[in-house]
């Protein structure tokens, strides 16, 4: 499909996942792991979208809205990140493409979070209008204003994704022409992102015990097989 059609399709996907995030159903297709994969699939590189989405998952996994703090919008981040990673996956490889995708997704996530706050404030005015409709004898008022609120969420989600996907993919095409040094840098980003993501998760878990359990899991997978091998074949520094 043409780039314009693709951007529009990705924007509609962005609207759907923006809805799923809080306003409707919450099936979790809005999670970056799923929305990034879907965006990558639409853009012709589902694997790149999936890897980018998996890395984005860790960044805000334990971020919950508390008081006035609004977490970034991970659903739009997944769509934008997956769409951007798909641009570079063929030439730059999965790690570098994921690095660029996650960086773009972070920007989109911040913008999407602000948009979420704005549309909730916009929808605050719907409850008084529903009351007026009921007082005037229009019993379908609640339903009509409920769906108007849902439609506003969808529209804002489409608009934010349109900007994010459009700017992100244009930026990725521009980056692709800037040389191998940049590619090497973003490959390092992509390879290092699991560490940053794990750190963000551990920070969100906020308990000393969590660190202990983290080390246990890390050691079981990282050190366990290695120790077994060294026991059989001798440690590498002894050969």
């Amino acid at each position: 499909m043409s780039e314009t059609t693709l951007v529009l399709a990705l924007s509609v996907l962005g609207g759907v996942v923006f809805l799923d995030r809080t306003a409707l159903v919450q099936t979790m297709i809005s999670r970056p792991l799923v929305s990034g994969t879907l965006a990558g699939y639409l853009a012709g590189a589902p694997g790149a979208g999936m890897v980018c989405g998996a890395l984005l998952e860790l960044l805000w996994l334990f971020d919950l809205p508390v008081g006035t703090s609004v977490p970034p919008d991970e659903s739009t981040a997944g769509v934008v990140g997956g769409a951007v990673a798909a641009v570079l996956a063929g030439d730059w490889g999965p790690a570098a493409a994921a690095g660029v995708g996650v960086a773009a997704g972070c920007v989109a996530g911040i913008l999407g979070g602000r948009a979420d706050v704005w549309v909730r404030r916009w929808n605050d005015g719907l409850v008084p209008r529903a009351r007026e409709a009921l007082a005037a004898g229009r019993l379908d008022g609640v339903g009509r204003f409920h769906w108007l609120g849902v439609a506003r969420f969808f529209g804002v989600g489409v608009a934010v994704s349109l900007v994010g996907v459009g700017a992100g993919r244009w930026g990725a095409w521009a980056l692709a022409d800037l040389g191998p040094g940049l590619r090497a840098g973003f490959e390092l980003v992509g390879v290092s992102l699991p560490v940053v993501g794990a750190a963000a998760c551990l920070g969100g878990l906020r308990s000393v015990r969590a660190r202990g359990w983290f080390v246990a899991g890390f050691a079981a997978v990282g050190a366990g097989p290695r120790l077994l091998l060294w026991t059989r074949e001798g440690a590498p520094w002894r050969s």
Partner: protein, 220 residues
């Protein structure tokens, strides 16, 4: 779930209980008061409110009941579903997704949809059955206790996922022994976690990583 959505979800039941006309209008109006709680646990309150409406509970009793439950249900739901179940399912498939297993996102989605629909059905039924006593049933389920236990599982899966991601990395081809990449990655994660606890946002760490990596990559 907020007031407009709550009233909309109640409408079919209220129409059955109060018929059409002024009684329905009054019943719907009283559920447009401020309401905000976790969407899954809202099912328990929905069921309980329907039972109370059937039993002829007054507007003030309904208002007090909803106000009393929405805060605790919000806290329990956020802690259990968003803070424990969702991360556990994500982390269970994370390592597989990173190494290109195409089924990983769908396994996560299938697992969460099962939890989503199952929880809403069970909670709605509990609310219908218990009415105003649903709060006692919810406390017996000890969602906060389960949330703490599941978070320990999350930490184990996080460590395992990071180790498998580092094992799969191209470090050996860069001249870095695998064990050194593992050790360095683990220590760095623990150190950055401390920074995260002090308020350093994940996005800032990403952009800092991008700036440093691009600088290193562009060096001759």
């Amino acid at each position: 779930m907020q007031s407009l959505g709550f009233a909309y979800a109640l409408e079919p039941a209220l129409r059955r209980i109060h018929g059409r006309g002024p009684a329905l209008r009054r019943a719907t109006e009283r559920h447009l008061d401020f309401f905000n709680t976790h969407p899954f646990l809202a099912a328990a309150i929905l069921g309980a409110v329907i039972r109370m409406e059937q039993e002829g509970a007054g507007p003030e009793e309904l208002r007090r009941f909803k106000r009393a439950l929405m805060g605790p249900c919000g806290a329990m739901g956020d802690s259990f579903f968003w803070g424990a179940v969702k991360p556990l399912l994500v982390l269970a498939v994370f390592g597989f997704a990173l190494t290109g297993r195409a089924w990983a996102p769908w396994a996560f989605l299938g697992g969460f949809v099962a939890v989503n629909l199952g929880a809403r059905a069970i909670l709605f039924r509990q609310g219908l059955r218990s009415g105003a006593a649903v709060a006692g049933a919810l406390m017996r389920w000890d969602l906060l206790g389960w949330s703490r236990r599941l978070k320990q599982g999350c930490a184990v899966l996080l460590g395992a996922g990071l180790a498998s991601a580092l094992e799969a990395g191209p470090f050996e081809s860069w001249g870095i022994p695998g064990w050194a990449a593992l050790a360095g990655g683990g220590v760095l994660a623990l150190g950055l976690a401390q920074a995260s606890r002090q308020g350093v946002r994940a996005e800032w760490m990403v952009w800092g990583l991008v700036a440093a990596s691009v600088f290193l990559g562009m060096m001759p």
